[in-house]
């Protein structure tokens, strides 16, 4: 299992009249080939911005720091032309809503072969043959006919499959999928999750799966990193982070979900609402909502500490973390 992408101390901030406004505040993680890396968090936690920063797709005005090493090259300091080659060929992205990320007026063929011809320099005939292969790969029925269609002629699930086919066109090694199933029904979602799982296994593809849906992460991810207010609060193997969550925020999230085996148990929501970038509390950003809050939480940002079951977490109140820190 080799590390494909190594992100260290990634920071994204906006320069405002009142000084820098941090959006992503020192995030580090590794993504391995053939594995699904899950990035969890609620809206405003900075998970999408993290992905956009890696791809160089941040809105104008956003400033970045830190490094993201893919094959010895730093994505964060790459020149525009080189980054454009990397994007699509080595790193590809799938977005939440295929209706808005596919061009409504162009045929599927045009959108699927554009990449092949521009990035790989294929002839039209070659590109068409490859396009049929790709659509077969993502299980689109009758791929030759599908190539002549337009996005509106396909259902949400099929559009998402087409989007994945476009992303796979240049055989990238990392697929960044931002909420790829959020707009879909559960029955269709299950199919997309199985498709991503199969691609990961068969093609040794690394997948960065960004979602707020812990069920989706549990099903697919090998490792999970949980973000809150721009920082990582807990990360590690999925079985640990989801099955035996320790950080009060992760545990709170899991408890607020409907549980499959205990329907009679009431949902236990986390008090309050997630903090946006402009209103992030000092110290541990989660402290105003935390049941276990102690005075130091409100002043010092807790560091991520590795505990012996393979996870890292940022909570000084946790007994295991406290014993290690001593």
């Amino acid at each position: 299992m080799t590390t494909l992408l190594s992100v260290r101390d990634l920071r994204v901030w906006l320069d405002t009249a009142r000084g820098p406004l941090p959006i992503v505040d020192g995030v580090s993680f590794d993504i391995s080939a053939g594995q699904v890396f899950g990035l969890a968090g609620e809206s405003g936690s900075g998970k999408t911005i993290t992905a956009l920063a890696l791809l160089g797709l941040l809105p104008a005005g956003a400033r970045t720091g830190g490094s993201a090493i893919l094959d010895g090259r730093d994505l964060m300091t790459m020149r525009t032309a080189q980054r454009r080659r990397t994007r699509g060929r080595e790193v590809a992205m799938v977005f939440q809503d295929p209706m808005s990320s596919l061009h409504p007026m162009l045929t599927i063929e045009r959108q699927l072969t554009e990449h092949l011809r521009y990035q790989l320099g294929m002839s039209r005939k070659e590109a068409d043959e490859r396009a049929v292969e790709l659509l077969t790969e993502v299980r689109i029925p009758n791929p030759e006919a599908a190539l002549r269609g337009h996005p509106h002629q396909f259902s949400g699930g099929m559009r998402q499959r087409i989007q994945i086919a476009i992303a796979l066109a240049c055989e990238p090694r990392l697929l960044v999928a931002d909420e790829p199933t959020t707009a879909l029904d559960v029955t269709v979602q299950a199919g997309i999750l199985r498709l991503l799982h199969r691609l990961c296994q068969e093609k040794d593809l690394a997948v960065m799966l960004i979602t707020h849906d812990l069920g989706v992460l549990s099903a697919l991810a090998d490792t999970v990193t949980v973000m809150y207010a721009g920082r990582v609060v807990e990360s590690g193997p999925t079985a640990q982070v989801m099955g035996r969550s320790r950080h009060p925020y992760t545990r709170g999230l899991v408890d607020s979900l409907p549980h499959p085996e205990a329907a009679d148990r009431a949902l236990v929501p986390i008090a309050g609402e997630p903090a946006g970038p402009e209103s992030r509390p000092a110290g541990c950003a989660f402290h105003p909502r935390c049941r276990y809050m102690e005075p130091p939480c409100a002043t010092a940002v807790p560091p991520l500490i590795r505990i012996d079951d393979g996870r890292e977490m940022a909570c000084p109140v946790d007994p295991l973390v406290a014993s290690l820190a001593r």
């Binding site: 029904d185 559960v186 979602q189 812990l214 099903a219 079985a239 979900l257 499959p260 009431a266 929501p269």
Partner: protein
Amino acid sequence: MSLLELRDVEVVYQRRDGTLVPAVAGASLDVNAGEIVGLVGETGCGKSSLAKAAVGLVPVASGSITFEGRPVHVLGRRARPVSERRLQLVFQNPYESINPRRTVGAQVADAFAIGRTQARSSWRPRVEDLLRQVGLPATMARRFPHQLSGGQRQRIAIARALAADPAMIVLDEPLSALDASVQAQVANLLVELARNLHVGMLLISHDLAIVRHVAHRTAVMYLGVIVETAPTADLWTAPMHPYTQALIDSIPHADGAGHLPVALPGEIPDPARPPSGCRFHPRCPRVMDRCLSEVPELVAKDGGRRVACWLHEAPGGARRAADGPSVAP
């Protein structure tokens, strides 16, 4: 008699080319006072159309809708009849259903102004009461919607519905625009309100898991028809219809165990050209010969359940579900 009764409701839309699309093709459902009924199904199954028909936002092509024993009128140019003010609707997106240019308090008080039910002097304390009832501080009345989070806005939308002193609230996907931790807060609020105010609720959702925690009874809809209704706990532990089973199996669990959910093959068909026989038969893992040609009726079973599936055909003439009384949990 139930508080809200839908009987063989059909909702038909017309496409631009003239094709008639029966979005709801004969659905019957009852909701009693103080009861939360969940209505689940995939996109395009007609659940939102049924919800809109239930409050008179779209006309029904056939069938009937009665609220407190009187037929529900289709919304037109005239004001809604006074008798229907106690039938309220909450929409999915609280960013669109609330006016951004008016204070929260003024919007909650709309119901008093329209209903002319109370003296103007009592509006303010009543608005503050309502805000507290939905778990917001009374000071929220002076705020504008942009100062509120998604969860707070959805609470305001619920407070607006409550201002009309409703007996029945229809909620169309009220939780799906909210973050997970906030979703649980609003879900618990609905349960509390139904219990404390004895309000009936029809909760439309694509999320079977959350409905399971909130609803007393759940109805499963597929391509315009209701295929199964049952007390929620029974529906979950022992689903009778293969479609209900498929919905349950496709839900991923946040337990870290790494089980891939089971996908249901195929897609929901075009409602303008529904499959013959049982509408679910092309996707059904347990399809039989008769499913291809004969339409299964929604028949009553033990324990207040109803199911429309040939696998559960009752021996010796089952009652037709729509004629039977509804069973409260």
